[in-house]
Amino acid sequence: MSGTMKAAPGIHLVGEGKSSFQQNLVSMGTILRKEVTRFLRIWMQTLLPSVITMTLYFVIFGTIVGSRISDMGGFSYISFIAPGIIMMAIITNSFSNVASSFFGMKFQRSIEEILVSPTPVWAIILGFVLGGVARGLLIAVLVSIVALFFTHIVVAHVFYVVVFAVLTALVFSLAGLVNAIFARKFDDVSIIPTFVLTPLTYLGGVFYSVSLLPEPWYSISLFNPILYMVNGFRYGFIGVTDVNIFVGLGFLIICCVGLWGWCYYLLRKGTCLRQ
């Protein structure tokens, strides 16, 4: 190596003429950029599967089965389920993006690159979570484009579409981060999506109106948080909902704050990260 190494560099004091906050924003931006680059680079694993799965939902439940189902809430079945299918993609993608990326860094120990740096906890959370939100929203756009091949999409309230999409992506990105912090093996990051998220999503009124359910299933469904997200998002598109959307909004905001606090506490304490 002596032949390839040149003289050691002169080292200067650190200081780029930026305030600590500006430097922390750069740190956060670096994590976010890395996250977005990662899921775009491996788009065959991150973006394509969801688009194909959701296309199949539109083909099977929308066109083949849906054509034999009567209107729901005054809309064709495929128009009724489209928002739910988009929301399902947002939930799974935002969660799995953060969970798999953060756990991957933990597993390879490259998370230490961030842990030894001055990056504050809020910047770490924001960097990873915004990465998850970016993937969730990009998937939402892609699935919406797919939906246009099967149905006419109307948007009754843009505000609610955006708010429910962003808040849901935020909540599940934060949840993915909590999962990844605790995870010790790869199985640990697939347990929650398989055994919790998928059942709750399917039972959260994506493919049906909960008002059709008999008791006690209707009342039990009201305890499913995903029901409120799907209905709030659907309300934004077609102006129809089974539940009070403000309950959903309030629940999402509480979840965001609660999960942020939990992530902050875990990272600050170094749970499962620092010895």
Partner: protein
Amino acid sequence: MNALEIIDLQKVYPTGVKALNGVSLQVKEGDFFGLLGPNGAGKTTIIGITTGLVTLSSGVVKVFGHDISNDFEAARRLIGVVPQEFNFSIFEKVFDIVVDQAGYYGIPRSVARVRAEKYLKELGLWEKRDVASRTLSGGMKRRLMIARALVHEPRLLILDEPTAGVDVELRRGMWEFISKLNKSGVTIILTTHYLEEAEQLCKNLAIINKGLVIEHGTKKELLSKLESQTYVLDLDKSFRGVLEGYTVRVLESGMLLEVSLNSEQQLTSLLVAIRKEGYEVKSIRPASNRLEELFMQFVEVKK
């Protein structure tokens, strides 16, 4: 000013293992400091606490006066660390690893790219900038970690066993590079198993055993505590004489002599005595590394 000041540092792991039992030491700014000790002595725990990878149980650690508990942002901006094991993403490109690391320290991307180029060139990795890190050889991976540790231009560089498992040529190259870094003003803390490395490079040393600092001082001071030093002498003919007052062992060929000198005996006096017996000394070398002997002496005594 102290680059690193550790006061009564204690660490008990959740498993109940007490890794540090009240370590106190100071590393002056500009120093080339060696942290020595057997496996499990607590060296990596000290480095882990200093760099933020391990939480302390009690005690104080300050980096250039910044407490790592209360003022961790300022403290960490001043530290660069080269860990013992590879800890970068194997899927990332070499250039991206270094640029992203600068980003974590708040360095804008435009500046980071220039710095990454500079350090990758310094370390002979520029040609490999676009390859995935997993394809690098072991030596290149070590150099990548050094480039990554330097990209934010720290004032304190901590190297945890940087030359473990690398070949002699690469090790020498690293020594040269790190020495030049030190001369440019960077304080270096080195842990190593190669005591020859520590003897050649370090100005000050601490020897740690079982979570305690058992010796701490300048290299000269510590070496002066060496109770005996053994030399191997190559003679012109088979030795048949007597060297009164010296501990002598004639090695197999008879032309090699192993002599132990205690702290009061001079090497020149030994050479005179041998000549008096009618023998010429063709060459002379220490039987083992002096620091190694000292290390064994301290560790044995404190057992």
